[in-house]
Amino acid sequence: MEFVDLLMLGFGEAMSPANLGFCLIGALLGTLIGVLPGIGPTATIAVLLPITFFLPPLAGIIMLAGIYYGAQYGGSTTAILVNLPGEASSVVTALDGYQMARQGRAGAALAIAALGSFFAGTVATFAIAIAGPTLSSFALSFGPAEYVSLMLFGLLAATILASGPVLKAIGMILFGLLLGMVGTDAETGAERLTFGALELFDGIDFIVIAIGVFGFAEIITNLERSGSEGVGVAPLTRLWPSREDFRASWGAVLRGTCVGTFLGLLPGGGATLASFSAYSLEKKVSRHPRKFGTGVPEGVAAPEAANNAAAQSSFIPLLTLGIPSNNMMAMMLSAFMIHGITPGPSVLTNQPEIFWGLVASMWIGNLLLVVINLPLIGLWVRLLTVPYRLLYPAILLFCCIGVYSMNNRIFDVVLAAGFGLLGYLFRKAKCEPGPLLLGFVLGPLLEANLRRTMLITQGDPSIFVERPISLVMLLATVVLLGLMILPSFRKTREEAFQEDEG
């Protein structure tokens, strides 16, 4: 059994004391930022990305992945105990979770969330292990034309599945593409859009944009909303759920896991979309939909399972095709790049220890989270009482050091401050900054593959429809575009995002 051998290889890598340690650090850090409102996982990973420079590749990636799924756990803790989702994907968990806590069932809600997440994480990890090799051998047959079509589809699908107005998201992607072109043109050596600044000849670093737009702009926006101190914490009770709780939630966990695993695969379908969708599905299949929002265990189990499953399964497109499906995965892509690994089909064949090591570490990390987090809940909750006034200077310092340490130059720090201002303006204009990162990361890949394709065919674009895989992707893109224009679809899409938000 080759599959078992590979899985053993992965566990061997992930169980080495150092990697286990970084997995633990990542999961704990992730929980921490999930608990603390006002710091998103995107900003945290941006800050920590330069630090992983100093680690071996697998260790660095394991730690960053741990932060990502750890944040899903931490976010649910505060959503349940203080009705304060530390993270967007826990917004729906707060609806029923906090009600359960007010009825004295906080412990049960937390345990359901943790166990449901662990189950979902296990399933999604297996999905990666099974789908990975198949998809990447499929992807090996991709030429540049297929990649162009795939990226077009991915970019467009990401905007449609993401919340917010589609046109604005497309604009943000275009801006990201443009930012990705700054620097020396790879093929002709011409310098592009650099304002003549020597520091921009190598292009803009991902970190500079990410920390500016997510770190600095987030701090400024948070400071505008004052008076977030003094939260009332629901009392903690016994942790173990009752038998009825178990009976009510196991179906919800199963359905949430399926929804999450599937939505995580789609471009743009990250953890947030998954938890919203799982909650509405649960409400639809439930025999007592009216009770949702009053503290039913299903309302906690389904979204928590779904967001964790999606967090894991969104690694599949990145690891097998090299295409990030949301801005978190764009971060992971640049983390891989920093370590000289280009994610995609070749990683599986050339560096199987990276792929399988990461997969195994995800499962271990999920287990660690359940084991360490339930006893530590008291500690996490106390952290919530730290006022933002003491927190943001620390974030500010880490952001600055992070940006500086990329290239050891102050120019990057000033540039990041500029992106902070820009990010702030975009927030005021109600534009979500996520798609910008996706465009920035995919831009150079898209351009290089498009040029290559056109060079091969000597300018004949018909190759895109002659190659079957490419044709399918383009057709899918056209269908999506068509749906976008249809007013009825637009209406349901808006309703889907508005539902449950209140």
């Binding site: 630090i51 100093f54 046109l167 604005k168 497309i170 604009g171 275009l174 801006f175 593409l177 443009l178 072109m181 043109d185 093929e187 002709t188 011409a190 592009r192 859009l193 304002f195 600095f216 701090i219 400024i220 400071l223 505008e224 004052s226 933002y388 006034r389 003491l390 943001y392 200077p393 620390a394 500010l396 310092l397 600055c400 050091i401 500086y404 340490s405 050891n408 102050i410 120019f411 720090v413 000033v414 990041a416 401050a417 902070g420 201002l421 702030y424 303006l425 975009f426 005021k428 204009a429 109600k430 534009c431 351009e447 498009l450 040029r451 056109m454 060079l455 065919t457 300018g459 674009p461």
Partner: protein
């Protein structure tokens, strides 16, 4: 409070349109001298111009529909955090090269703390000292970030 004027116009969308149009036009101007090339051999200016034209298009579409939609105001902009944080960061950048990490970090945290006026001086100074020590130990000694600690 109701919007000060009852005219049409979604302000956040108009701001979006202005940003997109501005960036698109700026990109077009800057990529002007670059060779456009042909489909078969794209020059360095091909993609930038294509993307900028699309961006201008999106900007126009957002702007035109914003003019016709009901009035919506932009959330109030509070100048204090915006200005203080930006000045603190830029100051850090210049101080780091000329004055060393310790002074730069102290500046960043003390100046940055002014963005939220609620704090007490004692806590701010303690926080600045603690974080600077932590940063120096972890980043400069521990991880070897190349920055002088003191003025050179």
């Amino acid at each position: 409070m109701a919007a000060p004027d009852a005219r049409m116009g979604n302000r956040p969308d108009l701001l979006t349109a202005a940003l997109f149009l501005g960036i698109g036009v700026l990109g077009l101007v800057m990529s002007g001298p670059l060779e456009f090339g042909s489909l078969a051999s794209m020059g360095p200016g091909f993609m930038p111009r294509l993307v900028c034209v699309l961006l201008v298009g999106v900007g126009l579409a957002v702007g035109l529909s914003a003019l016709r939609s009901p009035s919506e105001v932009i959330e109030a902009i509070r100048v204090r955090p915006l200005l203080v944080i930006t000045v603190a960061i830029v100051g850090f950048a210049f101080a780091a090269t000329h004055l060393g990490f310790v002074l730069a970090s102290l500046w960043l945290i003390i100046a940055g703390s002014l963005a939220d006026p609620g704090g007490r001086w004692r806590t701010t100074l303690l926080l600045a000292a603690g974080l600077t020590l932590f940063g120096a130990l972890v980043f400069v000694y521990g991880l070897g970030v190349q920055v002088p600690l003191w003025p050179v």
